[in-house]
């Protein structure tokens, strides 16, 4: 893929602030607009930005883990937040919260819903990453013009949802 200097530099400039914004949306989502899904989408959009700027190799080098690990981990976290309260005898997805005093920032509310949101964000990021992983490579040689049969397709899950 031919790289464009303008896109490359812009991506570098936007990337940190976009990620910071995603983090802000994720953390403030409990009481204000935002949340895991939106935060995950913004973070996923940065993956798209890296992809546009540098192709799949850049994405893989920036994000060190595989997409299905992010997705599975996120789903595990979110599902645990739903399941654990039941095992403790409380309603499903019961949440609890506590307040902490952070230096400089003052009092902050921490809720178990935040953990759920982090899980959701990971699922969204994993899904977007997976779409690029499955379809991002320019020329998928083993796909071209033939009906694929036989083993080895585990490397390329068909779907990202």
């Amino acid at each position: 893929m031919k790289r464009s200097v303008i896109v490359d530099v812009t991506a570098r400039l936007i990337l940190p602030s976009a990620l910071l914004f995603a983090l802000h949306l994720l953390l403030s989502g409990h009481d204000r607009p935002g949340g895991g899904f939106v935060g995950g989408l913004v973070a996923g959009a940065t993956i798209a930005l890296i992809f546009v700027a540098g192709g799949m190799e850049d994405v893989r080098s920036v994000v060190p883990v595989r997409p299905w690990t992010i997705l599975g981990g996120g789903l595990a976290v979110a599902a645990s937040v739903a399941t654990v309260p039941i095992l403790l005898g409380n309603p499903v997805m019961d949440n609890w919260k506590f307040y902490v005093d952070l230096p400089l920032l003052g009092e902050a509310k921490i809720s178990s819903a935040l953990v759920f949101d982090i899980g959701v964000a990971a699922v969204v990021i994993g899904t977007i990453f997976m779409v690029f992983e499955a379809f991002g490579d320019e020329e998928p040689p083993e796909y071209r013009g033939e009906v694929r049969q036989g083993p080895g397709s585990g490397q390329h899950p068909e779907v990202g949802s």
Partner: protein
């Protein structure tokens, strides 16, 4: 408040996540899948017993009060559906592991299968319509993936039809929900009857028909069935068995819920349902007779049989509803078994096309029995489980004096027998073809899973008395008014 009744909806999701994380090891994925489903089976049995004792059990997600939060409700109907569904999921998973095709080739099979389980369980346990929408989406998205697993051209084509139709249904569902919320201020199934009282009766009927139409697409009733015989046969065998055996019945379950919630005494809609039921039975069985391929014949039967369940619902009596519930429960088992046997025939002979396979009875007598029992049961031959279901339905129909429907259902069951005979004569009778593949060994797990389901369907026939009594109590909870006014 009984928090544990939400467990069947969230536990499979947790298992799906674990299954993704251990994706490299197929053995670990299998242990997780089988273990989770076995645990769920235990939960479902407990639910069956406890709902019979308590009538209705509820829990609120996050402790939010009823109309605001996500409500989980379990009554006898959900419990019996849940038990049958999970038992079937477990048997099909064993079959799929034995078969090995898609299951061992794709890292995604187990996680998506478990997500499908979660969606189905959630649909049966939810207490509000919006959550039902979410449950439908969870199970539909999983089914999209399972249908196209493998990515062959035929699957992509079938998948497109299926996804587009399902999406259109979902969008209509969503819109109806919005309108309903605007009109009544609630989507909670427990609050709806009272909230609907304030509405104009005509408007009430519009809502009822909107929702019945949406669920009718998923249940594949006439005239909304056309997508089913096109798409289902293209999925891997085990998946087709789950889809045809169970997914359309989730649609019927939703139809039962909505009809008993917002229109338990709307006899006009009841009559519409009866007409639709008759047409579904007849068109479905005609389609089956004209097909030449085992999976396609069975897919058209899946349409035809939906008519019987809608028949029971359309009567709007406790007896009719009880018969419909009994029919669904036995039918899920029978239909799944038939598809699994169809898969075994394909596996053994290399094709499911009736022109190209012959004399299986000579080479594989056991397979013949595995096909014959559920096939006769589907047609309603005594003393098998299908007969018990049809007998209850016809009995309820006679009680309500729906002579036309009784006649149609009896005629259709003869035609069902005819088309089953077509598979029997085509695939099992005659001289064995000199096909080298005809001697391919069948994996034990596949045969055992099919055999267990056949045994279960015989068990349903033997235990028909208590099961019908349970279904009747379930119907009485759903239709308290009709139950008390009946002579």
């Amino acid at each position: 408040m009984t928090p544990w009744i939400a467990l069947p909806a969230v536990l499979p999701l947790l298992a799906a996540a674990a299954s993704v994380l251990v994706g490299r090891s197929r053995a670990a994925q299998r242990i997780i899948g089988l273990g989770t489903l076995t645990a769920l089976l235990g939960l479902a049995v407990r639910l069956l017993i406890e709902t019979d004792r308590n009538d209705v059990m509820t829990t609120q997600a996050g402790g939010w009060v009823a109309p605001l939060g996500i409500t989980f409700v379990a009554d006898r109907l959900s419990a019996i559906m849940l038990l049958v569904a999970i038992g079937m999921f477990l048997a099909v998973l064993v079959y799929a592991i034995g078969q090995g095709d898609e299951e061992s080739r794709h890292v995604g099979f187990h996680p998506v299968y478990l997500t499908l389980v979660a969606g189905v369980c959630m649909a049966f346990l939810t207490g509000d319509l919006f959550n039902l929408f979410v449950a439908f989406e969870v199970l539909l998205v999983s089914s999209y993936v399972l249908l196209t697993l493998g990515g062959r051209l035929a699957q992509v084509r079938a998948g497109t039809t299926y996804v587009v139709i399902s999406l259109l249904a979902s969008i209509t569902f969503l819109m109806s929900l919005g309108l309903l919320y605007r009109a009544t201020g609630t989507v909670n199934l427990a609050d709806l009857p009272a909230a609907m009282e304030a509405l104009d009766p005509a408007l009430r009927r519009v809502f009822l028909l909107l929702f019945l139409g949406v669920f009718g697409i998923k249940a594949a009733i006439f005239p909304l069935f056309f997508w089913l015989p096109d798409s289902y046969p293209n999925a891997p065998t085990a998946i087709t068995a789950v889809f045809a055996g169970l997914l359309t019945k989730v649609g019927v379950y939703a139809m039962i819920r909505i009809q008993t919630t917002i229109g338990p005494d709307d006899t006009v809609v009841g009559t519409v349902l009866l007409v639709v039921a008759a047409l579904t039975m007849v068109i479905g069985v005609f389609g089956a007779i004209s097909q030449q391929e085992i999976k396609r014949i069975l897919s058209f039967h899946a349409v035809s049989q939906i008519g019987y369940m809608v028949f029971g619902l359309g009567l709007l009596t406790v007896a009719g509803l009880a018969a419909a519930i009994l029919y669904i429960a036995q039918y899920i088992v029978v239909k799944t078994t038939l598809f699994l046997t169809g898969g075994l025939v394909e596996r053994a002979s290399g094709t499911g096309h009736l022109d190209r396979v012959d004399g299986m009875l000579r080479t594989r007598p056991l397979l013949g029995m595995l096909f014959l029992l559920p096939a006769l049961s589907l047609a309603g031959v005594p003393p098998l489980s299908g007969f018990v279901g049809k007998f209850a339905l016809v009995d309820a129909g006679v009680d309500s004096r729906s002579w036309v429907l009784v006649g149609v259902s009896l005629a259709v069951s003869i035609m069902t027998l005819l088309s089953m005979n077509k598979i029997w004569a085509g695939a099992f009778m005659g001289e064995p073809t000199a096909n080298a593949e005809a001697t391919r060994p069948l994996p034990t797990a596949m045969v055992v899973a099919t055999g267990v389901l056949v045994a279960v369907s015989i068990g349903i026939a033997l235990g028909a008395g208590p099961i019908y009594a349970y279904a009747e109590r379930a119907a009485e909870t759903l239709l308290p008014l009709a139950g008390s006014s009946a002579p």
